[in-house]
């Protein structure tokens, strides 16, 4: 075939290197996020947390990884085998492919596509499938209930995330993620759109199935929810998927509200520090909120969760979209991108 000439192979090789350069650090970040989570929760509860394996317990996540690798993969006899194995893979790969459009710095982005924000939204709405497939294929009541809860929850909170994104897009006038960051050069959107930022953070907690909205894996009622039947590497994939989805949501929040790679003030001192460091600092801040909330708040009941999503966030975010649009038109501030 003419496609497999030297030029294309070289291109593919470089692309593969880029992909590795994103996935490698991401997996390390996920490993240390689990460590950080245990440390933060331990500190909140006045304990020490992991402190035996390695210096300050820093090698604990790798020990956990080795443990998971060396366990036996058990596939339930009455499960739908192909879908059972496919579900964690879908979950994991979906949480990785979203990273192809995240602009870590002005030039550090794998593909700078026109509809970046819609792509992220689409990928995050696809991640329901990993969970619902796992719940169905396990052929277990706990897993199925967990999957149903999770699917209904993610569909509900996607609506309010959608409106939050629309509000930001109204102010930017472009669906390109780099343009969204550049539009915040004067003022980060967290200040004028603060209520939407709060809605976004809470919806992000619900979207990633994190405490206090971790009903899909409600251990006191559903054992472990949708991954009850999973073990070993298949379980580890769900685990990695969940944590990298958390990092992804934090990056999305950073891009939409905290000005991405931009320093807080546009002066000499702050501009010395490269953009990606600012980006990671902001992502770290949002991740800390995730962990802090988990250590502090009790779990919601399911009807409370649905009430919050549909009766509070939906009207609130819809109203804010209308208000923002009115404000922009009234003061003639609508952005006009001709790109």
């Amino acid at each position: 075939m003419e496609v497999l000439n030297l030029e294309n192979l070289k291109y593919l090789f470089i692309l593969a290197l880029y992909v590795l350069a994103i996935i490698g650090p991401l997996l390390v970040a996920v490993a240390f996020l689990t460590y950080l989570e245990r440390k933060v929760i331990a500190l909140v509860q006045y304990r020490k947390g992991p402190n035996v394996v390695g210096f300050f317990g820093l090698l604990q996540p790798f020990a956990d990884g080795v443990k998971l690798f060396s366990k036996e993969t058990i596939i339930p006899a009455s499960s739908s085998k192909l879908i059972f194995v496919l579900a964690p893979m879908i979950s994991f790969s979906l949480s990785l492919i979203a990273w192809s459009v995240i602009p870590v710095s002005e030039n550090l982005v794998l593909s700078n596509i026109n509809v970046g924000i819609l792509y992220l939204f689409a990928v995050s709405s696809l991640s329901i499938y990993g969970i619902i497939m796992a719940g169905w294929a396990s052929n277990s009541k706990y897993a199925f209930l967990g999957a149903l809860r999770s699917a209904a929850q993610m569909v509900s909170y996607e609506v309010s995330i959608g409106f939050v994104i629309v509000t930001v897009l109204l102010c930017v006038g472009s669906l390109n993620l780099s343009n969204i960051v550049l539009a915040q050069k004067g003022c980060w959107y967290v200040f004028p759109l603060f209520p939407m930022f709060v809605v976004f953070v809470i919806s992000a907690l619900a979207e990633t199935n994190r405490a206090p909205f971790d009903l899909p894996e409600d251990e006191s009622a559903l054992v472990a929810g949708y991954f009850t039947e999973y073990s070993s590497m298949l379980f580890a994939m769900f685990f990695l998927g969940e944590y990298s989805a958390m990092i992804l949501m934090s990056s999305l929040g950073t891009i939409l509200f905290l000005g991405g790679w931009l320093p807080p003030f546009d002066n000499e001192l702050f501009n010395v520090i490269p953009g990606f460091i600012w980006f990671f600092l902001k992502v770290g801040l949002l991740l800390f909120i995730f962990l802090w909330v988990r250590a502090t708040l009790p779990r919601f009941r399911y009807d409370q969760l649905m009430r919050l999503g549909w009766k509070v966030f939906l009207p609130l975010s819809l109203l804010w979209v209308v208000l923002t649009a009115t404000f922009l038109i009234f003061f003639d501030l609508l952005p006009n991108y001709e790109s």
Binding site: S125, W136, V155, Y337
Partner: protein
Amino acid sequence: MNVFFILFSSITVLSSVAVISSRNPVHSVFFLILAFVNSAGIFVLAGAEFLAMILLIVYVGAVAVLFLFVVMMLNIGVDEIKVQAKKYMFSGFLVALILLLELIFSFSNLDVIYQTSNSNFNKLSNTHEIGKVLYTEYFLPFQIAGCILLVAMLGAIILTLRKREGVLRQNITEQVSREKKDSIEIIKVGKE
């Protein structure tokens, strides 16, 4: 022809065949989703990235999930479907025929479609392009479509809404606004 086009289109066609031939209804829905995702891929190849993403968000992310929900909860067998399918044979064929005729009609007029789409083509991205056309030239049809959807939604809510007696509901505002003086009464028990 593009390699990716061959890949996406063949997977779309094969999974569409699998939708109607697979023995398990849940597997059918999964194949349907695969077909959707691959048609989104074809959209991207055609340069319509906005449509592709909307297809993924609306159909794959929301509609197909609800579809999957229903099929999983109903737990229908294949034999039952076959019996049911025979009843709807006629209307099914009618719909298929209409779709086929429409496809033939639009493919025989391809040059007209290309001309109108290329005439006002400029450097805008297709998201801007769609927005400009949708909210100016086709404003009325767009609003009417929205109204029809709203009516359909209200209809669905009214059909499924039922009031049950004796259900205890939690009123969060009421709970939060409770104060110490409403709920605690201190009674001094003096000495006799």
